[in-house]
């Protein structure tokens, strides 16, 4: 049978990778629950509020975007707009060229993964260094992140030690402490010679123009302490209305993402460094990036733009845990990715229309979401869209429905099929006629086929009103 792509991927996963992903995501989920419910009497109320605030922003982006632009400019920030990935990358390169800069350090940005900025800059002669430990390892391995907040959840320490050795970062040593120290020593030299720091933003506050960045490692802080120019690539949906809303969203972000009350470093930036401060950028740029977001806004799945990229839905998702992030073939994996990634494809939606089917619709993703996104509802809408657009990817692994529609529209054929279906009770599994059924039966047992019994029972009832329904073989009647 033809499996869905995500199943094919999961089937070939190394057992060690599957174990690493499963353990990592499960641990993340357990910590989150414990911390949220230990700290607050009503964490669900906080999630709903945060969801309402972000929904308000995305439904009023037409006023928030000009407002944030004005505020940023007033704070001395240079504002750029980029409708596409190419425009965003070109904007970064133009800033680098204007400064004759050839070295960049990069922290905390998923938008630049979307636009494949690092690759673009390297081609144009700019060294672009990832500074988050996980992202750095992904970079030297020419790999891709497989989790929103734990990019190397799919690797174990032996994988990492091997690639450090291969990349000249010391002899093989798989002690996590040694790995971290080596990266520390290597990367601090990179920060200190870089001219430009590139970051994303966790939040951008309309009221004050504050750009908020959170990291545990301190890498974005080092970027903004060592370099002279700060470029932030920010998705247009990252806005919050008021500073006070940070008091809600920051509390939810740390707890949902990593089970921490607060991420270690939370940095609030309103512009270039203060005049008396010797360290840090004297030039700051914000690039407001669309890259498909306005298509999402125009769709009936715009709620997904509330997402604050905490990764809680990945950690709790039974499909993510089995398949790992790379199975989603996208920058954004897991339940959020199953909604966002196909939508960000724009007119190429059908290519990733299988992702909304990579879910059992169990609803756990919605329950843990810090901004209460109804992910299962959105997945259903996208399944329908995939069907309407006749996506081959979405149809993979689905039994053909032509025979069904013939039977359902011809009563005689239907009746014959009900009786004839009894043959299934005697067929060995591998001779079942429908591939999907064969795969299903391979892991489970079908109940016995009792086609026609309901009709039989109903007929009996109609002939003798008031009489108890006939039973067959001592069992209660079942609908056929």
């Amino acid at each position: 049978m033809k499996f869905q792509q995500i199943d094919q991927f999961a089937a070939h996963l190394r057992p060690s990778t599957r174990a690493a992903v499963y353990d990592g995501s499960k641990k993340g989920h357990e910590k989150r629950t414990q911390v949220l419910f230990d700290h607050y009497p009503d964490p669900d109320r906080l999630r709903q509020l945060a969801g309402e605030i972000k929904q308000h922003v995305i439904e009023n982006l037409d006023t928030y975007l000009p407002a944030i632009e004005a505020k940023l400019k007033a704070n001395g920030v240079i504002v750029h707009w980029a409708a596409t990935a190419e425009a965003a990358n070109e904007a970064v390169l133009a800033i680098m060229r204007a400064r004759n800069a050839t070295r960049m350090v990069k922290a905390k940005t998923m938008v630049s993964e979307e636009t494949e900025l690092a690759h673009f800059l390297e081609k144009n002669g700019v060294e672009c260094m990832e500074t988050d430990l996980g992202e750095f390892i992904v970079q030297i391995d020419h790999d891709h992140p497989s989790h929103i907040v734990k990019p190397i959840i799919h690797k174990n320490r032996r994988d990492i030690a091997t690639s450090f050795e291969k990349n000249g970062l010391g002899a093989y040593n798989d002690d996590p402490q040694t790995i971290t120290r080596r990266a520390r020593d290597f990367l601090r030299k990179k920060y200190l010679v870089a001219d430009v720091a590139l970051t994303g933003a966790n939040f951008l506050v309309a009221e004050s123009g504050r750009l908020v960045l959170v990291t545990n490692e301190g890498n974005s802080r080092f970027c903004l302490a060592a370099t002279r120019c700060h470029i932030a690539m920010v998705g247009i949906e990252k806005i919050l209305p008021r500073d006070r809303d940070l008091g809600l969203l920051l509390n939810l972000l740390g707890r949902s993402g990593t089970g921490q009350q607060l991420t270690v470093y939370t940095e609030f930036i309103t512009g270039p460094r203060a005049p008396a401060q010797p360290d840090g950028p004297d030039e700051m740029h914000v690039i407001l990036v669309d890259n498909g977001r306005t298509d999402v806004l125009a769709s009936d799945c715009r709620d997904i733009l509330r997402c604050i990229r905490c990764g809680a839905c990945l950690n709790v998702c039974p499909v993510y845990r089995q398949a790992s992030g790379h199975a989603y073939r996208s920058v954004y994996p897991g339940p959020v990715g199953a909604v966002l990634s196909p939508l960000l494809m724009g007119k190429d939606f059908p290519e990733k229309a299988d992702l909304p089917k990579a879910s059992s619709l169990c609803g756990a993703c919605n329950e843990v979401c810090p901004v209460d996104i109804p992910i299962p509802d959105l997945l259903l809408r996208l399944r329908e869209k995939g069907k309407r657009e006749h996506s081959a990817a979405a149809a993979a692994g689905t039994p053909p429905m032509g025979a069904w529609s013939l039977l359902a529209s011809q009563p005689t054929a239907w009746k014959a099929a009900l009786l004839g279906g009894r043959i299934i009770n005697y067929l060995p599994t591998k001779m079942l006629p429908i591939p999907a059924l064969r795969a299903w039966e391979g892991k489970r047992s079908l109940p016995a086929w009792r086609g026609g019994e309901f009709r039989h029972w109903l007929k009996g009832r109609a002939r003798s009103p008031g009489a108890p329904p006939p039973t067959s073989g001592g069992q209660s009647p079942r609908p056929s």
């Binding site: 509020l49 996590p176 509390n251 009350q261 270690v264 460094r273 401060q277 840090g280």
Partner: protein, 204 residues
């Protein structure tokens, strides 16, 4: 790029035009997001100490205790904010090399860095640094040990108060414990890019 501005804003307006109504902005009670079980259970410094320890930070309440800790751990070479040094120098004594100028060409020479904190949050054990209070961003970040000097009056009881008090400093950073990662197999390692040890020193 001004073209992209118009493109994006037009797309946004078109996308929102069919909406019959827009979601309103909810007001919310900051009380909801305060860990009331903790705050204000104690005097702010006492709670701050408890919460700082919970995130693997170290609170100290005298210059003498700091000097003793540094000596015990053989961290004898460091940087100190020149405005703070006169208040600390008497306790450091022989064996220490303390510079009041930070040289970014020698980042690894400084085992410790002493800078002023702009404030703290008791509820979360967070130290608040900003551009005006911190002499050098790098000095608070590159040494293995960072000591943030704090005054009692600058401690906020909870995070909501700290948010409300954020002024116009262009760069504010909240530090909640030492720099850390769990990227490798979920194992906690401290001291990734920033300090491996975060100390809060109460002075006044």
């Amino acid at each position: 790029m001004s073209n992209d501005r118009e493109t994006i804003l037009t797309r946004v307006r078109d996308a929102l035009a069919p909406l019959k109504e827009r979601a309103p902005l909810p007001d919310w009670d900051t009380e909801l997001a305060i860990m009331r079980r903790l705050v204000p259970a104690h005097e702010p410094w006492v709670l701050f100490c408890e919460r700082l320890v919970a995130v693997n930070g170290l609170p100290l309440d005298s210059a003498a205790a700091l000097a003793a800790w540094l000596r015990e751990h053989q961290h004898l070479h460091g940087y100190c904010d020149p405005a703070l040094w006169p208040r600390l120098a008497a306790h450091f004594g022989e064996g220490f090399t303390v510079e009041t100028e930070y040289d970014r060409a020698r980042v690894d020479d400084y085992q410790f860095g002493i800078t002023a904190a702009a404030g703290a949050v008791a509820e979360t054990g967070t130290l608040i640094l900003d551009d005006r209070a911190t002499t050098r961003r790098l000095a608070a970040l590159t040494p293995w040990v960072h000591i943030a000097v704090l005054s009692r009056a600058a401690i906020f009881a909870d995070l909501q108060q700290a948010v409300a008090a954020m002024g116009d400093d262009p760069n504010i950073i909240w530090c909640t414990g030492p720099s850390k990662t769990a990227d490798v197999e979920g194992i906690l390692i401290e001291g990734v890019h920033g300090p491996g040890i975060q100390i809060a020193l109460l002075l006044g």
